[in-house]
């Protein structure tokens, strides 16, 4: 069996007394798309942020492309160059133009020349369909456009893996589709992707595997069609019922959790 692109072993993470991740084991094969779903507070974003060490795991190991990220000797900046990350809040650099958002990291981090960085930036802006916004500032773009620029920025670094942390959760509903379309193309091109999302239709159609997390553990994982379409575990089923039809949820009683995650 080939070496997995992402490998997570016995991962624990605590914030003070709050034990957010309670032993996660997960592998993502090269070229696979894995969607991580689960109620808010289940630790799925923390799991993703442990993969590129934005959060320091309390215990356990993470490997990306065969390099142990959690090794204290590792050059974390070098590892992160190979891992693209897209955030819920886009996090574009507001003080520079769209093109400069793409060229600044290439030049400062990869040491690329001006013209090469500009060329890579142009290609990636075309890839996300925003070549005409090259000279705009982030504040002049819609949320969906900003998120596509953020994806293009990550792609400009030539990553082997892309992490998406709820990339469409901050978007108006009519803007979600454009971002998902870009991600779909990326998946079809063979990018290894780990996506924390609430978009069940995206998970079902695009993901090779779906992981359902709750309470800091993986409750259920398997092929997308099975986990989303025919969940085995009652907690998965309960979660999916709520998210697919939020209006059907019962008023929170002593047994139920908070409002439907969204």
């Amino acid at each position: 069996m080939p070496q997995p692109e992402i490998e997570i072993r016995g991962l624990h993470k605590s914030f003070g007394d709050n034990h957010v991740l309670r032993g996660i084991d997960l592998e993502v094969a090269r070229g696979d798309v894995v969607c991580v779903i689960g109620p808010s507070g289940s630790g799925k974003s923390t799991l993703l942020r442990c993969v590129n060490l934005l959060e320091e795991p309390s215990e356990g190991q993470v490997f990306v492309g065969g390099t142990e990220v959690t090794d204290i000797e590792v050059d974390i900046d070098a590892v992160r160059r190979r891992i693209g990350m897209v955030f819920q809040q886009f996090n574009l650099f507001p003080h520079v133009t769209v093109t400069e958002n793409l060229t600044l990291p290439q030049r400062r981090v990869l040491g690329r020349g001006k013209s090469e960085a500009a060329k890579v930036a142009r290609e990636n802006l075309e890839r996300v369909g925003l070549a005409d916004k090259a000279d705009a500032y982030p504040a002049q773009l819609s949320g969906g456009q900003q998120q596509r620029v953020a994806i293009a920025r990550a792609l400009s670094m030539g990553p082997e893996v892309m992490l998406f942390d709820e990339p469409t959760s901050a978007l108006d509903p009519e803007l979600v589709g454009d971002v998902l379309a870009v991600m779909r193309v990326l998946a079809s091109e063979g990018m290894t992707m780990m996506v924390v999302t609430h978009e069940m239709s995206f998970a079902r159609e695009v993901a090779d595997r779906v992981v359902f997390m709750d309470g800091g553990v993986i409750v259920e994982e398997g092929p997308a069609a099975q986990v989303v379409g025919d969940p085995r575990h009652p907690r998965t089923r309960h979660f999916l019922d709520r998210i697919l039809d939020p209006s059907a949820a019962e008023a929170p009683g002593p047994e139920a959790g908070g409002p439907a995650a969204g």
């Binding site: 992160r80 160059r81 996090n91 650099f93 507001p94 003080h95 981090v109 990869l110 990550a154 670094m157």
Partner: protein, 266 residues
């Protein structure tokens, strides 16, 4: 028991009384002051005319040079201290905190006297580069750095956390992310308060008075005071004061514009 006047009527009457008192106070000061004597002492036209062009070409020019050199030195030092204050290395944070409390807690005048006396004592045989200009930059800058450090620190902390995370996830080191991403945004935030600091420095440059300066090194206050005692008339003081206002009032106006623009950008 309720008053027969409505709330609005009562407010109007109270405002009317306040306004009447205000006007009365103004008129009283205007009537009681001896304007002739004031004019004699402060506003002699021929004396004022004699001040030019030296008051501009030497005094105002020196004030500007002192202010700018102090500002630049203070800005560099202030940025350094702000970064130390935010460092993960505890001793850096302590040193920065002590520095800020120390220099904010002392009158600028004391610092100036200290720079003039203690530095030559502590490092005998060495001159502060730039002579008086170097001493002034040092004295003004040391004090300004303490205030600017706090301003810059607040500016850096006002940059959303996601900016650092995005930069780090792209492979920037912490230092590179600071230089390329965080500090440029922080400076946009702190331009209005830093301009305010410039106004304060402009006035504090008058403390050069206590360093002992040559004729060519005199700034507005020293120049005004010297000529006032030479002519036994205070007109030079008034003219010097007007020279300060020519610079500080437009600067304050710029600060307000910048603040208004920053508010709108939010």
């Amino acid at each position: 028991m309720t008053s027969r006047l409505s709330r609005r009527q009562r407010r109007r009457i109270s405002q009317g009384i306040q306004y009447a008192l205000f006007v009365a106070a103004l008129v009283l000061v205007g009537v009681l002051a001896d304007w002739d004597r004031l004019q004699n002492q402060f506003a002699q036209k021929d004396l004022a005319a004699e001040l030019f062009p030296d008051i501009i070409t030497t005094a105002l020019r020196n004030t500007v040079v002192y202010t700018l050199s102090g500002f630049v030195f203070g800005l560099v030092l202030g940025l350094l201290i702000a970064l130390m204050r935010l460092s993960s290395v505890a001793p850096y944070r302590w040193v920065a905190s002590v520095y800020i409390e120390f220099f904010r807690g002392l009158p600028a005048l004391l610092i100036f006297i200290f720079v003039g006396v203690a530095v030559p004592l502590a490092f005998p045989g060495t001159e502060i580069p730039g002579g008086t200009y170097g001493k002034v930059a040092l004295g003004l800058g040391l004090v300004a750095a303490a205030y600017m450090a706090e301003t810059i620190r607040a500016g850096i902390q006002a940059v959303p956390k996601g900016q650092m995370e995005a930069a780090r996830s792209l492979g920037f080191s912490h230092a590179r992310a600071m230089v390329s991403v965080i500090i440029p945004q922080a400076f946009r935030i702190v331009i209005p308060p830093l301009t305010n600091e410039l106004v304060l420095l402009f006035k504090d440059s008058s403390l050069v008075l206590f360093l002992g300066v040559t004729l060519e090194e005199r700034e507005l206050t020293k120049f005004g005071r010297d000529l006032a005692s030479q002519t036994a008339n205070s007109t030079p003081i008034l003219v010097a004061g007007l020279c300060y206002l020519i610079v500080t009032v437009p600067l304050s106006f710029v600060v307000r514009r910048l603040e208004a623009r920053a508010d709108k950008a939010k």
